[in-house]
Amino acid sequence: MFAHQLPDAGDQIPVQAAGLPLVAVRDRAGNVRVFHNVCRHRASLVVPEPVRSQPTLRCPYHGWAYALDGALRATPLWDGQRVPNPAALDRTQLGLRQVRCGVWSDVVWIDLSGTAPPLEDHVAPLTTLWQGYDMTTLRLAHYETGQIEANWKLAIEASIENYHEPFVHEKLPARLDTAQPTFTEVAQGAMFGFVTPADAALRSDTPLVPLRDPTAHRCDNLCYLFPNGQQNLFGGLAVRTIWLPLGVDRCEWRTSWYLVGDAADDDTHRPARDAMVAFWRQLRVEDKRAIEWMQRGRASPVADNLLLSPFWERSIGTFHLLWRARMGDATDA
């Protein structure tokens, strides 16, 4: 999820990660916290639906209430008394189980194991790649979600190669008129993807992200942070997508689009924003169709020994290597 979805203290949103029920909360200090969304009483979901500006996380089953830092504050009628005897239950050890998390680039990153390297290390390749841009100028312009009937990895693979673009996306600029790649793969740590010269950029009437060094070379960036964080930067537009696996053959995308300064929400740039949204919706429709074709093809037993173009699809290979490294001996896939 995105931090912008929790604008105020007490905002609470249930989320799923690795199949587990979690809840993200904005606490009184302004920090995003994530907890297992499981009441310590009978394991009911504490927050089954998003709520805004609540003083506590209140379980709907028996009214147990947790402070925004997770501490158990109230267990109404626990001992049958309208004013419970504090000695009837030691609340001090019954807070919500917290999950390690951090916010970078408006994305809430979750570490269920509690043992992952620091978030700054995870995102370092991308912060280094983009150190020439002043990303602080970006503001949320649009947010949208959708589902695809396909494995989440196919969705990611479809967005880290531009081999398919002239066949699937008629409105995208042609990049096939040269024997030399118009893009360069990037792969470091958890980061993979590719960058293209800015002259191949998607064009818009919104201002460009300022360069810290005005003479620096501007590129378009289609990058990922393993496993499922997509981070794109095109001229004046940043697109951040979280790809959520919902099942072996179903996934969800949650995407935020950001523009520079007032272009994100003023009237002057409304036509450009509307055009941007329409353009991306069309891309998503076209991609969804192609991705679902790949999933349907994989129902066949002959769908193995597939190929990756050495010219276009090296980033998919990088993604696969990262996946295999994480899976270890769990599969021979």
Partner: protein, 35 residues
């Protein structure tokens, strides 16, 4: 090593990675839960 590896140095994932519920459960644990 298959033909794809000969060409690109990388081997595309097999179809089980996209279709097998058991692989999906392992993936949830190992890729997304970190364990």
């Amino acid at each position: 090593m298959d033909a794809a590896a000969d060409v690109t140095g990388t081997i595309p994932l097999r179809r089980a990675a996209y279709t097998d519920a058991a692989v999906f459960r392992s993936e949830q644990q190992r890729v997304f839960a970190g364990g």
